[in-house]
Symmetry: C2
Subunit: 283 residues, 2 copies
């Protein structure tokens, strides 16, 4: 049975955090949408090196899903999530209801231009405004010293760093390396949707990204690397490729078609069956 304490309201969360801070303890927050896997647990483990207390939030945020996306189907299982968090020494599970987060009359949006516009911003209209708004709320509700997010959602991490800096939210945002399965597939709650055949296709995305990184380092042009990457995903069996792109690592602007001259990231999103997968790698 899980020992971890669970709170469901802002008031209860704040009472816990206030008590810790009064004792001089630093607090880390790990925001998640639940359906936890080893990737999430690695975030908690990293958070524990940065603060005496770690809060994990589990909230499947409706406002970051588009009308035709998988909000209803998104996997949920609080008992298992609580057990897993307990197993890595997380101190508190914050699991608010949709009504606690968005009471009647709610009408505020935090939005970011620039870094949130290409890639998933173009493919999922409104997604990053939903993310920025809910993450602002979680940071305000918890008041952590540090918050940890996975690099698997690299654009999300850059959007969060951007609005936290712009709004002067007093918290350190920490990105954590992507956790991968044996064949290199990035761990994701959405992997649970994959059939056995789809799972095999999914495992090719990280290979295409790693190949792109090698080619860029060898001086191949951005344009050619992107075309090769898209072709590789098509050949692998992905049915729709949302993007396979080389971007400036900080602001996700396009580095131009030629050989790379900036610190860059290769990012991909593609659909297999009903599942949309994303991944990315540093160059």
């Amino acid at each position: 049975m899980p020992q971890i304490a669970i709170v469901r309201t802002v008031a209860d969360l704040r009472a816990k955090v206030r008590a810790w801070k009064a004792s001089g303890e630093r607090v880390a927050l790990v925001p998640t949408m639940g359906a936890l896997h080893d990737g999430h647990l690695s975030l908690v483990t990293l958070a524990k090196t940065k603060a005496e207390r770690v809060v994990a939030s589990v909230f499947v945020n409706p406002t970051q899903f588009g009308p035709n996306e998988d909000f209803d189907a998104y996997p949920r299982g609080e008992a298992r999530d609580a057990e897993l968090l307990d197993s890595v020494g997380c101190d508190l599970l914050y699991a608010p209801s949709v009504a606690e987060m968005y009471p009647p009359g709610f009408s505020t949006t935090v939005s970011v231009t620039g870094v949130s516009e290409p890639l998933d911003g173009a493919a999922r209209p409104g997604h990053f405004a939903g993310v920025a708004t809910v993450v602002t709320k979680l940071l305000m509700q918890c008041g952590p010293d540090v918050a940890v997010f996975g690099e698997k959602d690299y654009q999300q991490l850059q959007v969060i760093k951007r609005f936290v800096r712009d709004l002067d939210i007093p918290v350190e945002i920490l990105g954590a390396p992507t956790s991968r399965l044996e064949d290199g597939l990035a761990r994701s709650s959405r992997n649970a949707y994959l059939s056995e055949a789809e799972r095999e296709v999914a495992g090719r995305m990280n290979l295409a990204l790693a190949d792109a990184v090698r080619r860029l380092k060898a001086g191949e042009s951005v344009e050619r690397v992107e075309a090769t990457g898209r072709a590789a995903l098509e050949r692998a069996g992905f049915q729709r490729i949302d993007y396979f792109e080389v971007r400036n690592a900080d602001d996700l602007s396009h580095p131009g078609p030629g050989p790379l001259e900036v610190s860059a990231r290769v990012l991909a999103a593609a659909v297999i069956g009903k599942t949309r997968l994303i991944d990315n790698m540093a160059v």
Copy 2:
């Protein structure tokens, strides 16, 4: 010579506030655009009843002015502002530069639907997003226990209450009664623009609002009260009337054309010469 301390950076502001909080002192913030008058000073005086320490910020925020508005002409005078704040026992003046508030790459907006849309929201596109974003920043920079805003900018106050609640910003928002001159004209930094003749016209706005409140209390219909109010402003000599409206006091929705059945507010905005004035009264 003013004794009040002045800080110009987020880091210096936070160092001051951190020291006060470490001594167990509560902190209040009074955000202003400077050109201080007795109305502002009454906010500081109210703030002093709520906290041991009061910070006033002076920042003429470019993002809440439209392209054809009076950003450049807006009155500025830090030495006098500092003296006035000192005279009422304000503890700190925070006067950041535009570059400190909006460094290169800034790309985040806090926006509010509903309450920010009618009235000044319709007359000044983008104004309330500019207000919501800069006030969020000031609250995050200072971290006050309470922040005080004048009811003179009534819609602004409701917008601020709305996003502070929606984003769970841990601060109490307090509205302070409008400070008025002898003939009832609401104190405003923009009154400095008025010629003697315009000043006389300006003094009629509060009379039209008071008359509207009397008529509403006597059971006159909203529709008729609004028409009478607009006619009164025209007769008084205002050259453009942006609005003269009765609104639900909380969410600024329209209460319907008939006799009032909700807690309401009458709000007006009109232009005389080059000066746009606003005022409002509770019913």
